[in-house]
Symmetry: C2
Subunit: 220 residues, 2 copies
DNA sequence: ATGAATCTGTTGAAAATTCAACAGAAAAGG
DNA sequence: CCTTTTCTGTTGAATTTTCAACAGATTCAT
C-alpha cells in the first residue's frame, strides 16, 4: 500500500489523516487494489453496490447504456478521485451504471459498510473519515447539479457553451484542454457528434472560440 | 416547535432520534421556522448557502432560471423533506438555485455549521445527525442521477416514458398521480409543452397509456 | 515507415422539436 | 352563479437535430 500513499494523501476521503494512521486505517478497512486494462469493466451495471472505488492511477468513466444502446458518459474520474460512493452509501441493491477503465488504471476498493460502522479497534478516525465522506458526497451532488444544468439546455450550442464556460471557470483561464474527444464530448452533452462538430466550426467562424483537437479558447 | 414533532419524526434527518431529545436538539441547533405564501421565495439564487431547509407543511420547488429566462424545475420537496443540504454541506459561496413555495408552506431552517460541528453541550446526537445527513446526501445524489437519466434521453417520448416508468416503479403500481401540471412536467423533462401534450395524445392513441389531468396509467 | 484503424468535419435529406396562435375545458375568485 | 384566469390539446410553419455517408487527418501497431 505504501507506494500509493502520495496519491491517497490527495484523496479528499482521507483529508486530515496522517500517513501512518492512513496505512493502519487502510488495513482496518480491508482496502484492496486491482489493475485494469483500458476498456475493462471496474463495476458492471446490476452489481450490488457495496464498494467505494478510488482511482490510484489512470482514469475511469462512469457510463450508462440505455435499451437503445445509446451510451451516456456521466463522469470521468482521475487519480485520487472517489467514485460509486453514493450508491455504496445509499445501499442500493444494484448499480445503475457501469464503470470502465479509460486507460490502464489501478483502483482501490473499500467496502462502504466498513467506513460507516466503526470497527472493533475503534480507530478514532472513522469520525474524520465519515465527515470527509459527507463532504465528498456534497461535492458530488453539486457536480451532478452542474451536469443537469448542462444537459438541461435545449440546443447543442447552449450545451456546449455552458460546458465550456464551466471548464474555463474551473481552471480560471479562457484557454484550456477538455478531457474528451469529439464523440465523448457529444455523449457527455447528449447531442449528435456531427452536429457538435458543425456547431464548433460555426462558433469558430463567428469568432466566439478557437479550438484545435481538445484544446479550446473562449474569446471575449 | 412541539406542533411540528410529528412531521419532524418523519424527516430522514432525525431518524433514530427520540422526541424529547429532538426538541432539545432543535434548540441546540438554533432551528427556526418561517411561513411562506404561494410563489414566495424561500432561498434566492446567489444567497450564501448556510442553511438547510426542511419542509414542515406545503411544498417548495427547487428551480433554476438561465439567462434566456428558461425556467427549469430541479425538484419538488414535500412535508418532512430536506433541501439545500448539499449546498450547505458543500459550503458553496452562493446558491446556484432558487427555492420558491409551491403553495402556502412552513419551512424550518437549520444552520449547517451547527450540524457539522458538535456543540459545547456535546449533545451526543450529532453523530447520529451527521450519519443521517450523509444517508440523505447519498439518496439525493442517486435521485439527481435519476434526473440525469431522464433529461439525457434524446426525444420527448423517451423522456416522458422514462419519467413515468420511474414514477410507476416508485409507487409500485402502473396507475399513479404525478405532482406536476403540463407546463411543470415539460419544464422537468426539458421539452416543449405543446410537444409534450401532443406526445401524450399520441401515446394514448397507441394504447401505451391512459391519462386524465395528472393521473397516468401505463398499459402493458 | 507503412498500412490499418480511428477520429473529425462536411454535407444534404429525413425526422423531431420548438414556436406562436387559438379555442375549448377546467379552476379560481368574487 | 357568472366572469376571469389558467390550463390543455391542436395545428402548421420555422428551426434544429439526427442520421448516413464520405474523405481527409491523425493515431496506432507492426
Amino acid at each position: 500500500m505504501k507506494k500509493y500513499l502520495e496519491i491517497l494523501k490527495k484523496c479528499p476521503l482521507f483529508f486530515g489523516i496522517e500517513e501512518e494512521q492512513l496505512l493502519r486505517m487502510l488495513h482496518c478497512l480491508g482496502a484492496r487494489v486491482s489493475p485494469f486494462d483500458k476498456k475493462y469493466t471496474v463495476f458492471a451495471e446490476g452489481n450490488p453496490a457495496k464498494y467505494i472505488g478510488i482511482v490510484l492511477s489512470g482514469s475511469v468513466q462512469i457510463i450508462q447504456v440505455d435499451y437503445y444502446g445509446n451510451r451516456s458518459i456521466l463522469s470521468e474520474m482521475h487519480e485520487s478521485q472517489v467514485f460509486a460512493e453514493a450508491f455504496a452509501c445509499g445501499e442500493v441493491e444494484s448499480l445503475p451504471v457501469t464503470v470502465v477503465a479509460n486507460e490502464p488504471s489501478e483502483v482501490m476498493f473499500i467496502e462502504c459498510g466498513h467506513i460507516l460502522h466503526t470497527c472493533e479497534n475503534n480507530c478514532g478516525f472513522h469520525q474524520q473519515l465519515i465527515f470527509n465522506l459527507m463532504k465528498d458526497l456534497a461535492a458530488k451532488t453539486i457536480s451532478f447539479h452542474q451536469r443537469i444544468e448542462i444537459v438541461s439546455k435545449r440546443s447543442t450550442r447552449e450545451k456546449l457553451m455552458t460546458y465550456l464556460m464551466f471548464e474555463a471557470k474551473k481552471v480560471g483561464k479562457s484557454s484550456f484542454e477538455i478531457p474528451f474527444d469529439r464523440q465523448e464530448l457529444a455523449d457527455y452533452l447528449e447531442v449528435d457528434r456531427s452536429g457538435l462538430s458543425a456547431e464548433i466550426s460555426k462558433l469558430r467562424s463567428e469568432g466566439i472560440l478557437e479550438s484545435r483537437k481538445n484544446h479550446f479558447e473562449l474569446k471575449r
